[in-house]
């Protein structure tokens, strides 16, 4: 033992692994995201003199939460879920019904107002519960049969919320949903009383920034939870199932339980997002949870890079920008551009020509569809794919090539 070299004292820098962390792409992405998240309110106030961008960010937030959740099901465990909006609806309605005057006009005859901070966990549990209930009999199904069952579930749930209108108000929607209230110590005199005011009042009723901060916290919590899950034993089991279910089962993984957990945990995030959504929008109608929502979240996940949490967040933000800001804003951009370059006459409608703005608006579908196809063709693995999967893909591509060469030689 005496000839063993004494362990070299590692420098502080090495111990933190600073360099490695910087090199690690995820850390870099998260770092940039955190920085942007912090700067965003200040910058957007100064640029737009208003809260439009902040309101957009609060909405983008729940899409991010949904994408993170669906990524657990689709990206980690490899189960195709086409009815994810159903769990979102369950979360949103749980909050909406238990924190609004709605139940006063229902057979229960008594309005319920429970605090947001409690209900957000109740919503989470409800969504997870329904995920498990749906998953239990159906997760034995293989491959895309599961996708169809989830699709069916996604069709049924909003319809049920519509049909039981005695309780949910049906198409009239649940409105006047309570806003979250902060505990007194947060709202203390130092935030409200002008004499002692240190920070501006942090009020969910009037200030979208409050929601912005809230959703940033929710997303951060979700990211930490999901990343830890991914690196856990369960995460590895999901990966094994995704790659080869039979081999995973042979290795002693209980595939049904593991898939059930993916389903339940994935669903729980949309419950989370649902409660937040209900509070932010303050109006929950069955029309907001249709198939198109499930599809949009799926597109966010795949486009961002399945299986990679940071990629999925980027995917959700990019898609949100595309669907809710860029494409609706295109007519204005195009007409503005046309008048700047002296083609303003194109903006007027004459005869069959509806005007440049209107024409651009009519192109919305084509533009959106075209972008989806183009992005997927250019980056089939997503914008920011998971490292593991990237390796696999490269490996597979090499194998294909080798096979092709062999074939051509044969």
């Amino acid at each position: 033992m005496s000839n063993a070299a004494p362990a070299r004292r590692r420098s502080l820098r090495e111990r933190i692994g600073f360099r490695e962390r910087i090199r690690d792409r995820d850390t870099a992405v998260y770092g940039i995201l955190i920085l942007l998240a912090l700067m965003f309110p200040l910058v957007s106030y100064n640029i737009t003199e208003g809260t439009a961008w902040i309101s957009h960010a609060t909405r983008a937030g729940y899409w991010v939460l949904l994408a993170i959740g669906l990524n657990v099901v689709v990206g980690f465990a490899g189960l195709l879920d086409l009815g994810y909006a159903a769990f979102f609806a369950i979360g949103a309605y749980t909050y909406a019904l238990l924190a609004s005057p709605q139940l006063a006009s229902s057979p229960a005859n008594h309005a319920v107002h429970i605090s947001f901070w409690i209900l957000i966990f109740v919503s989470l549990m409800m969504a997870a519960l329904f995920g498990a209930i749906l998953g239990f009999p159906t997760l034995r199904l293989r491959g895309d049969y599961l996708a169809i069952v989830t699709l069916g579930f996604g069709e049924i749930v909003p319809q049920l919320f519509y049909n039981f209108d005695q309780w949910t108000g049906g198409i009239n929607a649940v409105g006047l949903i309570d806003q979250p209230l902060l505990p007194a110590w947060v709202q203390g005199p130092w935030s409200g009383d002008p004499e002692f005011k240190i920070v501006s009042p942090f009020n969910f009723n009037t200030d979208p920034v409050a929601y912005y901060v809230l959703v940033c916290f929710l997303v951060a919590i979700a990211v930490v939870l999901v990343t830890n899950l991914y690196n856990s034993r369960l995460g590895r089991a999901w990966m094994a199932i995704r790659e080869d279910e039979v081999a995973a089962a042979a290795m002693g993984i209980n595939t049904v339980t593991t898939k059930l957990l993916a389903f339940g945990i994935g669903a729980s995030f949309s419950g989370f997002a649902g409660a937040y959504y209900a509070a932010d929008v303050a109006l929950v109608s069955p029309d907001n949870f249709l198939f198109i929502v499930s599809i949009t979240v799926l597109v966010m996940v795949v486009l961002g890079g399945m299986g990679n949490v940071s990629g999925v967040i980027i995917g959700a933000l990019v898609m949100y920008y595309l669907i809710f800001i860029l494409i609706p804003g295109l007519p204005e951009i195009v007409t503005g551009f046309a008048s700047n370059v002296g083609l303003g006459s194109l903006n007027q409608s004459t005869g069959d020509w509806p005007g440049l703005g209107e024409e651009t608006q009519r192109l919305n579908f084509i533009i959106y569809g075209g972008i989806l196809v183009a992005v997927m063709l250019l980056r089939p693995q997503g914008l920011l794919p998971s490292r593991v999967r990237e390796q696999e893909l490269k490996h597979a591509a090499v194998q294909e090539e080798e096979a092709a060469i062999e074939m051509s030689h044969a």
């Binding site: 895309d144 049924i156 319809q159 075209g370 972008i371 196809v373």
Partner: protein, 328 residues
């Protein structure tokens, strides 16, 4: 692996008994609704075939297929506009127009679908499995956008040029158009079945669906076979689009998304990859929708259709006629 089959039989048996009770107590309404369901189902079946063939061969839920179907109807109504057709009655020109327009639209749709496959799916054949699913969704939006740009968001009229004769038989009302839909649907499905089972290309398709690599080793041109599958699927979708238009006379650009979803459900219902299964699945869903609208209430129809779907899959995980093949 699956729950015992008797669960499935109990489910089916209950439905049959309930319907039989209706058939005995209110025969007129029962058979009238049956006709509605049959015609609706025949069209779903035609669309479902395209889904089931494509899924069988490349495991892709081709979301754009429903929009190919709608585009067929849009092209059909435009082409029919070039003929001196008379609406509301049946003339020789109507017949000639139909005989010309049917194959032309089918071929155009076949060409379009091959192009879609070439552009949006073939480059992704070795990509992650969900990548082509996203391009399919993108293509679906794209096609809807084309129809939106072309004819606007409102409903579009499809010429009413079928014979208008109709009869009351024992109080049940039906017309030539009902017979037309069912007969043409049945003929097309049978032709497809014969094609798949008897021809060399059909055999190549079945082989490719079973094991692509082995098929390739046997000298089958995979790209050509897959393109042929898309072509034939689109032929049927185009025919379905015209039949839809002739039958309902109103089309709109988003028709396909929903009908496509229902048709895909029908394909799964019958056992995906299975031609007769898809046809039967289409009929079952059409009938379920009609009976549910009439007996249970229209707001429960979606719940009933998808509830039955989930029920069937729980008890019979590979669909009504699906083969119990071990997973690769």
């Amino acid at each position: 692996m699956s729950l015992p089959d008797y669960g499935f039989y109990i489910l089916c048996g209950t439905a049959v008994i309930l319907l039989a009770a209706q058939a005995v107590t209110h025969p007129t309404q029962f058979f009238q609704v049956f006709i509605f369901g049959l015609t609706q189902g025949a069209i779903y079946a035609l669309v479902a075939l395209g889904y089931t063939m494509v899924y069988g061969i490349i495991e892709l839920i081709n979301f754009a297929h429903g929009d190919v179907f709608t585009l067929g109807a849009y092209i059909g109504t435009t082409l029919l506009g070039f003929f001196a057709i008379t609406e509301g009655t049946f003339t020789a020109i109507n017949l000639i127009a139909l005989i010309i327009v049917f194959p032309v639209v089918m071929l155009i749709m076949g060409g379009i679908n091959i192009t879609i496959e070439r552009v949006a799916y073939r480059p992704l054949r070795n990509a992650p499995r969900l990548a082509p699913l996203i391009t399919a969704i993108g293509m679906s939006f794209f096609l809807e956008g084309v129809m939106f740009l072309w004819r606007g968001p409102a409903t579009v009229h499809f010429p009413d040029i079928l014979p208008t004769q109709s009869w009351y038989v024992a109080g049940v009302f039906f017309g030539v158009r009902d017979i037309f839909v069912v007969v043409v649907g049945a003929v097309l499905v049978s032709l497809l079945a014969v094609f798949i089972n008897q021809t060399k290309l059909g055999k190549a398709m079945r082989a490719t669906a079973q094991d692509r690599d082995a098929a390739q080793l046997m000298g089958i041109d995979i790209n050509r076979t897959i393109a042929a599958t898309f072509f034939i699927g689109a032929l049927l979708a185009g025919a379905g689009g015209i039949i839809w238009g002739l039958y309902y006379n109103t089309i709109y650009y988003q028709l396909g998304f929903r009908s496509g979803l229902i048709a895909f459900t029908a394909a799964v219902f019958g056992g995906i990859g299975n031609i007769p299964g898809a046809a039967i699945g289409g009929l079952v869903i059409g009938l379920t929708a009609a009976f549910s609208d009439s007996y249970i209430g229209s707001k429960w129809t979606q719940v009933v259709i998808f509830g039955i779907l989930i029920g069937v899959l729980v008890f019979r995980p590979t669909g009504l006629l699906g083969m119990r093949v071990p997973e690769k």
